[in-house]
């Protein structure tokens, strides 16, 4: 594959940005990415977004955001894959630049969830599941994740609060991220007392919905501006895999098969094994997703992923740091924009710009976004070029 490099990154804070519109959020992230790239201008824009049509009554984000960013005339379109929308946009941007048909691709994840009340947002997010057989029956993604957690804890005899290490790790890391929604470490006793959202998932097991936009500007190495100021990061592997949309159509709901396959394929493309990576930005929309993603990536045996959070293995200094800048849990969950944040954060780690959350000598990062319970899994391997 032609080497695709990340020339620029940008992000807005993740929180309830009542006074900032969808287009302004997108603009801020794109401008930051262009500036970070030394003024490189994109020739294509791929927008990762899930819910603008439903929550903001705005489709056609490609033309809207290209024009609003002063890029009128370039190729632009939206890529949608539920929670993996921006990760899929990153893959599309990678394909476009690698093919030689696009010289510089802006990948923008943007989501504005605070325009509607929470019940409507939850209902809209449920559109990422099988509407006829799941959402229409009253099943939200949160309720479904709770059932998965219940099954997991029953099947493998997990003690109460056994999943808590994942959100506690995310919160401890989020302290160092100026763009994170929550910058406060959480004590185990606070976790144990937290209000239940959908048993057994409590408030800390569910990532908070938020607004945000993050952008990555991709190009080929020979097209970088002269005097490019950052350590160079390349996209060494990229894979997108689907599974059944409805969870009940799977032989084993506790196996995130698409997540497993996409890790294998992305790593194979990069010529590495999963254990070679220095950090794993996984999709911790719910604590149970973290556990199942760790198992799918092969970092533990089935039924033992929860133990990784018990012995420090996933902390910043552990064998496999996760959610290094807070993850979805502490940085916040800006819907379909999430994958762009994960990739931007991995780039910060690989450039050595992650501040207090810096993983020492990080050279390779694994980044994975999920649509629903890994009905889509998009995985990238980012590497210091």
């Amino acid at each position: 594959m032609t080497k695709v490099v990340i020339a620029g990154i940008g992000q807005t804070p993740v929180n309830e940005q009542w006074e900032v519109s969808l287009r302004e959020l997108g603009l801020q992230a794109m401008e930051a990415a262009m500036q970070d790239a030394g003024g490189l201008r994109p020739t294509a824009l791929y927008v990762g977004n899930m819910l603008a049509g439903t929550l903001s009554r705005q489709a056609h984000l490609g033309a809207l955001l290209a024009d609003f960013a002063g890029l009128t005339g370039i190729e632009a379109a939206t890529i949608e894959a539920a929670g993996a929308s921006a990760a899929m946009a990153l893959r599309v941007g990678t394909l476009a630049v690698a093919s030689g048909m696009v010289d510089a691709a802006m990948v923008l994840g943007v989501e504005k969830l605070s325009d509607q009340v929470p019940a409507q947002v939850e209902s809209a997010l449920a559109m990422g599941s099988d509407t006829d057989y799941e959402a229409e029956q009253g099943l939200t993604l949160t309720a479904q994740a709770a059932m998965l957690a219940q099954r997991y804890m029953h099947e493998y005899k997990i003690p109460e609060h056994g999943l808590g290490g994942f959100p506690l790790t995310a919160h401890a890391n989020g302290v160092h991220n100026p763009n994170a929604m929550f910058r406060k470490a959480v004590k185990p006793e606070t976790y144990a007392k937290a209000g239940m959202v959908s048993a057994p998932l409590n408030m800390f097991d569910v990532a908070p919905n938020a607004d945000g936009a993050a952008a990555l500007l991709l190009t080929r190495e020979d097209l970088l501006p002269s005097g490019f100021p950052h350590p160079l990061v390349e996209i060494a592997g990229s894979s997108a895999v689907t599974d059944t949309l409805a969870l009940h159509d799977r032989p084993d709901p506790l196996t995130f098969n698409a997540a497993r396959l996409s890790v294998e394929r992305a790593c194979a493309q990069a010529g590495i094994l999963p254990k070679d990576v220095d950090l794993f930005e996984l999709f911790d929309a719910f604590s149970i997703y973290s556990v199942l993603s760790m198992e799918a990536a092969g970092f533990s045996l089935k039924g033992e992923g929860w133990k990784l959070a018990q012995n420090g293995a996933i902390s910043l200094t552990g064998e496999m740091p996760i959610a290094t800048l807070g993850g979805l849990k502490a940085r916040g969950f800006p819907g379909g924009a999430t994958g762009a944040y994960q990739a931007v954060e991995a780039v910060l780690q690989l450039r050595g710009q992650a501040g207090g959350a810096q993983v020492k000598d990080a050279k390779i990062a694994l980044v994975q976004s999920l649509g629903g319970p890994a009905s889509t899994a998009v995985t990238h391997v980012l590497r210091v070029a």
């Binding site: 309830e16 009542w18 006074e19 605070s114 009340v117 929470p118 209000g195 239940m196």
Partner: protein
């Protein structure tokens, strides 16, 4: 905000040509109380946090008209003036009994203020009462009128099961605004901060209001209260420690506590006026009934800051200074704490009957 904008806002503080103040005040709270745990018992199986302890509920024969009359009579008892000298009777509420037909004429007739008077109803969500007070300041401060009566009173609506059902209470207060030299508390100035912010509304023919949930917090309540309060500090060149008391609109217990903290007030400055834990959110009556509880115990010379908030949205901030004439006034009518202590607990079923909530869909 630029420096010029600041000067501009500074000039927007309202000061009357002639000194004005509160000549008489009166509160009213219905006797029935619905504990928040009763609402939780019915709707959440008793789980979840409770925003207050209990709320006041109007009896079967009570509405904003009857409750306003009670408060107005208490205000007259303290003002000791002839009701015919009132040149305005203004009632602010979001639960006027009629969509068309004034509450204020019923009140004016009942207290003997008719016929040579202005009478009208005000509506600005929870700040209709303070808006009527500001208008009364203008009326008296221009010397068009010697006295004007401003009331904020509500029997607030909360959709069964909604977060608002825990807090939507009933009650309010009446103020007779008159010349500064007759006042038990002078109103030194007022400032209003208003934007178009749709955080809470009730449309025509709708029984219950709707709200933007978390949007009602930062961009609505906190932004308007703190903006109005800070502008007032600046305009009057005062600091939180210059005030003996502060009272804010109080939709639940936490919001006014946090707003007070954001403005730099200490808990002991706001606790006297913080009535919401025990009577609920009385909407148009909320900030001003807190003010009556403060006036019931205030000493001459003490300063009070009041900041109301009405959804939609806006805040009226007022700075008051208690005078020597306060002495002996609180005892001339039922005090606010006496009303709060007059308490009959009801359960959810009695509440449903009293509020007429039992309807087939």
């Amino acid at each position: 905000m630029t420096e010029n904008d600041h000067d501009h806002e500074h000039a927007r503080v309202l000061k009357t040509e002639h000194p004005v103040g509160i000549v008489g005040y009166g509160a009213y709270v219905p006797r029935y109380r619905l504990p928040a745990r009763e609402v939780a018992r019915i709707w959440t199986d008793g789980t979840g946090g409770l925003p207050i302890e209990e709320k006041s509920v109007p009896g079967l024969d009570e509405d904003v008209a009857t409750m306003s009359i009670e408060a107005a009579r208490n205000a007259l008892a303290r003002a000791q003036i002839n009701p015919r000298e009132l040149r305005a009777v203004w009632v602010g509420s979001e639960s006027h009994p009629y969509a068309v037909k004034p509450t204020s004429t019923i009140v004016a007739e009942a207290i003997g203020a008719v016929p040579s008077t202005q009478a009208a109803d005000w509506e600005f969500a929870c700040k209709a009462g303070t808006e009527a007070m500001v208008a009364a300041m203008g009326f008296v401060g221009s010397q068009m009128a010697r006295y004007a009566l401003a009331i904020g009173m509500d029997t607030a609506q909360g959709r069964p099961g909604d977060a608002l059902e825990y807090t939507a209470g009933a009650g309010g207060a009446a103020f007779i605004i008159g010349p500064g030299e007759e006042s038990l508390a002078e109103i030194e100035s007022s400032y209003s901060f208003v934007t178009d912010t749709p955080d809470f509304w009730r449309r025509q023919y709708a029984k219950y209001p709707e709200h933007g949930q978390r949007f009602t917090g930062e961009p609505a309540y906190f932004k308007h209260i703190t903006s109005a309060g800070e502008a007032m500090f600046e305009a009057t060149n005062t600091k939180p420690e210059d005030y003996a008391y502060a009272v804010f609109h109080q939709p639940n217990t936490k919001f006014p506590q946090r707003a007070g903290q954001m403005l730099g007030f200490k808990p002991e400055q706001i606790e006297t006026g913080l009535l919401v834990p025990r009577i609920g959110n009385t909407y148009s009556g909320a900030a001003i009934i807190g003010l009556t509880a403060i006036l019931d115990i205030a000493e001459p010379g003490e300063r009070i800051m009041m900041v109301s908030f009405g959804s939609g949205a806006g805040s009226d901030a007022m700075v008051l200074r208690v005078t020597d004439k306060i002495v002996g006034k609180p005892q001339l009518a039922t005090t606010t704490e006496e009303y709060i202590a007059r308490r009959t607990e009801i359960d959810y079923a009695e509440y449903v009957r009293m509020r007429g909530k039992l309807t087939m869909k």
